[in-house]
């Protein structure tokens, strides 16, 4: 039996490295497994969920018990510590990189004490944050994903992000206190791309064209049921194709327009209720829009106007606004978002003040009449199976129609969806595949032999990966696969041959 060499590491001291005391836990590892990728192996309806890793360690020492003051890790057994599983043989690669979610000691009075450590992938880390964005105008989906990641505190740089420029340019997009992952999923839907986690811990945003180009248009390994094949699988399940078939696709386009500049918000408090601003003190007010004074079709603020003293706010030494005006001693800092403006008043003077008047002006963003588009199959074999698009930011009717056209071509007929398992310990070739293959890699599956008798040999994309490694280093890999050709046979200028690749992509 071939065995891989693995290293499991936790950055207990949170210094960004794995060199500290007790940070390599390989020798204590009893079991580790992880899952990463889509919730469903459909390139249309399957979207990434947060990756997860479960690590079972020998805890006979009690090192991983958070209340054990004798542990060398006391005070460091905390969530959000970086954790990674990597292999150094027969190939070198990171298999999972994420962040600790839970540490659960499992004492056994008579047996072996263990600890279960659960971790999430980088999307789970990011999703702890809520984001607010100002209304972005004519922004491509990749840029918008980048903005959300930055708002959520995710580092920039190639070690953390692999973000395609979007094929779709959204006319307007904004978020108000939205969970970061949910916000990005709305952008992902509008692109028709894929937001995912890479094995090395990067957050990846694939635009909808990525799989049509190198290296995603070439198979990286052939798995077969043939006796003597160099890569063989031990189990294969052809999934029910019906949930993946759609004969009618519908999209809704929501146009916007800008309204007239005006006062959008006003503080109504007067007298003793007005905010106080002590000397050297600060006060934060949030102007919110739409509010009860807004038009029924108002949804946000296209542009906030930076408030100016006297016109938009006044600070006096008394609540009635008849004493000494302190505006010159007040510094105002604003931050603007789609539905809010944060106003930070800072009294730099020595007199006690009252904010007697505040308003916020701007250009409201108004909804226009939504437009629906659809495309329906002429085939009646599968009946009416309707998929309404969940995309929120489709920019125009043409693109909505193109989305429906393209996906109808792909999904009006059955496509093959597989669950395939192999034992990596068969030999080093299998181990190498287990170690280096990642999501979106293209592989070939041959199922024409008598062992499976499924009658096809085709290319597939890896949509979900599950790997299980036990203490004896038995290593099992399961992939959820979607058929590749429908996505990658779009017409590509200067590459595609006539009459072989004729689907028009959008």
């Amino acid at each position: 039996m071939a065995t891989g060499t693995y290293i499991v590491e936790v950055d207990w001291n949170n210094d960004g490295t794995f060199t500290g005391t007790g940070e390599t836990v390989t020798s204590r590892t009893l079991h580790v497994e992880f899952t990463r990728g889509r919730d469903l192996n459909s390139q249309l309806t399957g979207k990434s969920v947060v990756g997860s890793l479960q690590l079972l360690l020998n805890n006979q020492s009690g090192d991983y018990n958070s209340y054990n003051s004798a542990s060398p890790l006391t005070g460091s057994l905390l969530p959000n510590r970086l954790i990674q599983l990597r292999a150094t043989g027969p190939s070198t690669a990171t298999l999972f990189r994420g962040y600790i979610d839970r540490i659960i000691p499992q004492p056994s009075v008579k047996g072996l004490d263990t600890v279960l450590i659960e971790a999430v992938g980088p999307l789970g880390f990011v999703n702890q944050k809520r984001v607010s964005l100002p209304i972005l105008l004519d922004t491509d989906t990749g840029s918008a994903i980048g903005s959300v990641l930055t708002q959520a505190g995710w580092p920039t740089g190639a070690a953390y992000r692999d973000i395609d420029a979007g094929e779709t340019t959204m006319r307007r997009v904004w978020f108000q206190q939205e969970a970061a992952l949910k916000a990005m999923q709305t952008i992902e839907e509008s692109e028709g791309g894929w937001l995912r986690e890479a094995a090395n811990g990067r957050i990846v945003f694939e635009n909808r064209a990525r799989r049509g180009i190198s290296p995603y248009n070439a198979s990286t390994g052939t798995f077969t049921d043939a006796a003597g094949g160099s890569l063989v699988y031990t189990n294969i399940v052809q999934q029910d194709p019906l949930p993946f078939i759609f004969t009618e696709l519908r999209a809704t386009i929501q146009p916007f327009t800008l309204g007239a500049t005006g006062t959008l918000w006003r503080s109504r408090d007067t007298g003793t209720l007005v905010p106080t601003l002590p000397a050297s003190g600060t006060f934060v007010l949030w102007a919110k829009y739409p509010n009860t004074s807004a038009a029924a079709d108002a949804v946000g603020v296209g542009t906030w106007i930076t408030p100016t003293a006297t016109t938009d706010y006044n600070v006096f030494t008394d609540t009635a606004g008849t004493g000494t005006n302190l505006n010159t001693a007040v510094a105002l800092t604003v931050a603007t978002f789609g539905n809010e403006m944060r106003m930070l008043f800072n009294n730099t003077g020595t007199a006690f003040g009252y904010i007697t008047f505040t308003q916020a002006r701007g250009v409201p963003l108004l909804l226009q009449e939504p437009v629906g588009v659809s495309q329906t199959s002429t085939s009646t074999i599968y009946g009416t199976r309707t998929l309404p698009s969940r995309a929120q930011w489709i920019p125009n009717i043409d693109e909505g129609k193109a989305w429906a056209d393209w996906n109808l071509q792909v999904y009006e007929d059955p496509t093959i969806h597989l669950e395939m398992t192999y034992v990596a310990n068969r030999d080093n070739s299998h181990l190498t595949q287990a170690i280096v293959r990642d999501l979106s890699d293209r592989i070939t599956v041959i199922a024409t032999g008598t062992r499976s008798n499924l009658g096809f040999g085709r290319d597939f994309y890896i949509e979900t990966i599950k790997q299980v490694i036990d203490g004896d280093r038995t290593h099992t890999v399961t992939y959820l696969l979607s058929e590749a050709v429908q996505r990658s046979d779009m017409w590509i200028m200067d590459t595609s041959d006539l009459n072989t690749r004729c689907r028009l992509h959008y």
Binding site: V49, V50, G124, K182, T464
Partner: protein, 137 residues
């Protein structure tokens, strides 16, 4: 009872077993050395059903016993084949359908939907919040 295909459901006894729940209990109870099943007219307590890896289970309440069946909401009774205690009424939560719907959104890779778990006390809102944290829609 006819076994059904393993569709995407939170599994109860009838979804997978070839024999009825009552017959399974009877056979395992007998194999445990407890003889024929006593009449189910004397209920000595209740057990809250829980969900473990995508299965409704009823677990023996006796500390340290650990015996469990995959539960059956159409025959919600339990008697322990290991320690012989019973009968208990198995209580399914009033929000059973909502709980199942939320857990079924959690992806399954392979035969073990290890993230589909629920214990009594967890609210529907808590499950929904967990789903949201994991990006599950």
């Amino acid at each position: 009872m006819q076994a059904t295909l393993l569709m995407e459901v939170i599994v109860e006894h009838g979804h997978w077993a070839q024999v009825s729940y009552r017959r399974l209990i009877s056979e395992t109870y007998g194999r445990g050395g407890w003889g024929p099943l006593p009449p189910d007219i004397q209920i000595i307590g209740t057990i809250n059903a829980s969900i473990n890896h995508g299965r409704w289970i009823a677990e023996c309440p006796i500390a340290g016993c650990g015996a469990a069946y995959i539960a059956d909401s159409t025959d919600p009774l339990f008697i322990c084949y290991q320690c012989g205690r019973g009968w208990y009424t198995v209580i399914f939560p009033p929000q059973k359908t909502a709980i199942e719907q939320l857990l079924l959104r959690r992806p399954r890779v392979g035969n073990h939907p290890s993230s589909r778990n629920w214990i009594p006390g967890e609210t529907v809102a808590m499950l929904a919040a967990e789903n949201a944290r994991r990006g599950i829609r």
